[in-house]
C-alpha cells in the first residue's frame, strides 16, 4: 500500500467515527453551572482535533471483538465474555484527558494558540484554565467508571488511566527540565516523549481491551503498540521539520533549529561532535534562509543524525505493527496498522 493510499484509509476511518466521537463528547461533557467554568472546559473539546486517540480506542474494540467496522453500537458494544459495554464513553474519557493536558500544558508553556484558536488561558484567564483542566481531569475518571464493564475490569481501567496521567505529568516535567539542561542523552529524550505523549496512545489502545475482558498479554501488546507508534510519531515530527519543503510543511522548514528545541536529531548530532548550537546563524524562523537550512540539514545528514531518527521511527513502527498479531486478522486490525504507518508518513 502506498503512503497516500494508507493516509486515505486512515483519514476515512477517522472521518467515519469523528462525528460519533464529537456527539459523545457533547453529551458526556455537558454544559452545567457555573457556566463560565463549563464553557472553558468544553472550549478546546469543541475546537476540533482529529480524534485520533478515540479512533484508536474504537478500532481496537472492533478488532478485538472481530466485528465489521462500524457495525456495532459503540454505546452497547459486545465484550469478550458476553454482555456489552459503552466503549464510546471510554474513548471519550481518553480525549477528555488529552484536552486537560493540552490546557495545562499551554499555561505552562505560555502558548497563545491551540487548534487554531486562542489557548484556554488566553480566551478566558489562567485561573479558569487551571480549573477547566482540573474539571476535565475528574470528568474523565467519572466517565471511565460508567462504561457498564465488569467492575474488576472497570477498576483496572481506572488504575491504568491514573498511572498514565502520573506518567504524563512526569514527561511534561522532564520536557520543562530539558529546556534548562545541557547534555540530555538520546535515551533520556526517548523516555521523555514516551511519558509525555506515547503512554496516552498506549492507554487509548489498551483500555477497550481491559474493559472487554481481554487477556493480560493482549492488553499489554496493545499498550506497547500505542507506546511504540506514539513514540515514532514524535520522532518523525523532528525529521519532518527538517526534511519537508516549507510550502508543504505550512511553516518554515528547520524552525526547530532556531527555537533551541532539543530533538532526537540534534541530541544525536551533538554526540557525534556536531556544534549544534551554531548550525544556523538566524535567531528566528523568519530570518532563516532555505540555503542556511539546507546547509544545516547537510551537516546533520553527514553525521548520520537524520537517518538515525528516521530509522528509529521506522523500527518503532514495525515493532508497533507486529504487536497487533495478538488481534484477530480483520479490517480493523489492518486500520490500526495503517494508523501506525500514517503516524510516520503524515505530518504536513
Amino acid at each position: 500500500m502506498t503512503p497516500d493510499a494508507t493516509e486515505q484509509r486512515v483519514l476515512e476511518a477517522i472521518r467515519q467515527r469523528r462525528e460519533l466521537v464529537n456527539e459523545a463528547l457533547e453529551s458526556d461533557v455537558p454544559m452545567a453551572e457555573p457556566e463560565r467554568l463549563y464553557e472553558a472546559s468544553r472550549y478546546l473539546l469543541k475546537a476540533g482535533g482529529k480524534r485520533l486517540r478515540p479512533t484508536v480506542s474504537l478500532l481496537t474494540a472492533e478488532a478485538l471483538a472481530d466485528v465489521e467496522p462500524m457495525s456495532e453500537d459503540y454505546r452497547a458494544f459486545p465484550t469478550l465474555a458476553g454482555g456489552s459495554i459503552d466503549v464510546m464513553t471510554a474513548a471519550a474519557s481518553i480525549e477528555v484527558i488529552q484536552s486537560f493536558t493540552l490546557i495545562h500544558d499551554d499555561i505552562m508553556d505560555d502558548d497563545d494558540l491551540r487548534r487554531g484558536v486562542p489557548a484556554v488561558h488566553k480566551e478566558y484567564d489562567t485561573e479558569t484554565a487551571i480549573l477547566a483542566g482540573d474539571t476535565l481531569y475528574a470528568k474523565a475518571f467519572e466517565l471511565l467508571t460508567q462504561t457498564g464493564a465488569d467492575p474488576a475490569n472497570g477498576l483496572e481501567a481506572v488504575r491504568r488511566l491514573a498511572t498514565t496521567c502520573i506518567r504524563i505529568c512526569e514527561g511534561q516535567a522532564l520536557d520543562i527540565e530539558f529546556e534548562h539542561r545541557n547534555g540530555v542523552l538520546p535515551d533520556e529524550y526517548l523516555n521523555m516523549i514516551e511519558l509525555k505523549t506515547a503512554v496516552l496512545y498506549g492507554t487509548a489502545a489498551a483500555i477497550p481491551a481491559v474493559l472487554m475482558g481481554a487477556d493480560d498479554d493482549v492488553v499489554e501488546a496493545l499498550y506497547q503498540y500505542g507506546i511504540e507508534s506514539g513514540s515514532a510519531f514524535q520522532i518523525q515530527d523532528d525529521v519532518l521539520d527538517l526534511t519537508v519543503p516549507s510550502e508543504k510543511l505550512g511553516k518554515q522548514r528547520g524552525s526547530d533549529l532556531v527555537e533551541n528545541k532539543e530533538t532526537i536529531i540534534l541530541l544525536h548530532a551533538r554526540q557525534q561532535g556536531v556544534d549544534v548550537e551554531n548550525l544556523v546563524e538566524a535567531k528566528t524562523a523568519d530570518e532563516l534562509s532555505e540555503a542556511e537550512v539546507q546547509a544545516a540539514v547537510d551537516e546533520l545528514d553527514d553525521a548520520g543524525s537524520i537517518d538515525y531518527a528516521r530509522e528509529m521511527a521506522e523500527d518503532l513502527t514495525e515493532q508497533a505493527k507486529a504487536r497487533l498479531d495478538v488481534l484477530p486478522d480483520n479490517e480493523s486490525r489492518d486500520l490500526l496498522c495503517d494508523i501506525a504507518d500514517y503516524l510516520i508518513t503524515r505530518g504536513y
Copy 2:
C-alpha cells in the same frame, strides 16, 4: 461534655492517628523521578496539617465495623461482608486530593503561605506547582483503586471521588466569581462552601462505608454528616473572625471586614439593609482599631446577622450528628459527633 473536653478528645483522636496517616502518605506517595516534580508534590503533604479528613475516614470505618478504636490494622481492616481492605490508603487518597486542591488554589489566589511555609508555586514555580497538583490528583485515584475492596465497591468509591473533585472545581469557580459580583445571595454562598469545602468532608466520611460494603442509606447518611459538619465549619469561621478576641484568634479580629471577603454574615446583613461596604473605614487589618471592629460587630449584631450565622452553624451541626444514628453506638461514633462539635467550637 464541655467544649474544652470535646476538643481534648478530638485532638487526642487525631493525634493517635496522625503518625499512621503521615507514614501512609510517605509510603503511598513515595519519591520518584523526576526528583523536582516529586519533591514539589510531597512538599505540602510533608508540611503537616491536622489530617482531619483522614481521621474522619478512619473513625467512620471503626464505627461501622463496630470495633475498638485503634484495635484493627488499618491496612487490613475488616469489611462488613468479611475479608479486609486497606482503609488507610483510602484515607490517604482523600488527603492527597486535599493537598492537590490547596496547591492549585494557592496559584489561583496567588497566596504566598500555606501551613506556615511558602506555597508550592512560591517555593518552586507556577509550572511545577500546576504539575505537582496534577500528579497528586492522579495519584489519589490510583491509590483508591488499590484498597483491595470488592471491585464494584472500589469502582463506586472512584466514581464518588471523581464527582467530588468536579464539585470542588465548581465551588472554587463560584468563589472566584463571587469576588467580582455584587448581590450574592446567602443560598448561593452556602452552595459555594458546600461545593468548595464540604463535599470532601462528606466523601471522607462516605468512602470507607462504600469500600466496606455498607448499605446505600448508610453511605448517604455519612456523606450528609460530612456535608453538614463541613458547611458548619466554614460558617463558624466567619463568626469567629468577628467574635474571638484578637489575641486568641492569632490575627486582628474583624479582618474579613477589610478584605472585601463575602461572608454569610455580611450577605445576610446586606439583605437587612446594612451598608456593609462602609462598616469600617480602615482599609487594612493593621489600620483596624478594636473600637471600630466592636462598632461594626454591634451593627451586625443588631441586624441579627451574627446570630443568623451562629444558629445556622449550630443547626447544621445538630443535623450532622443526627445522621450518625445509622452507625452502631460505639466510641468511634461518639468521636465523630465530637468532631462535628469541635468544628464549630475550635477555631483559634
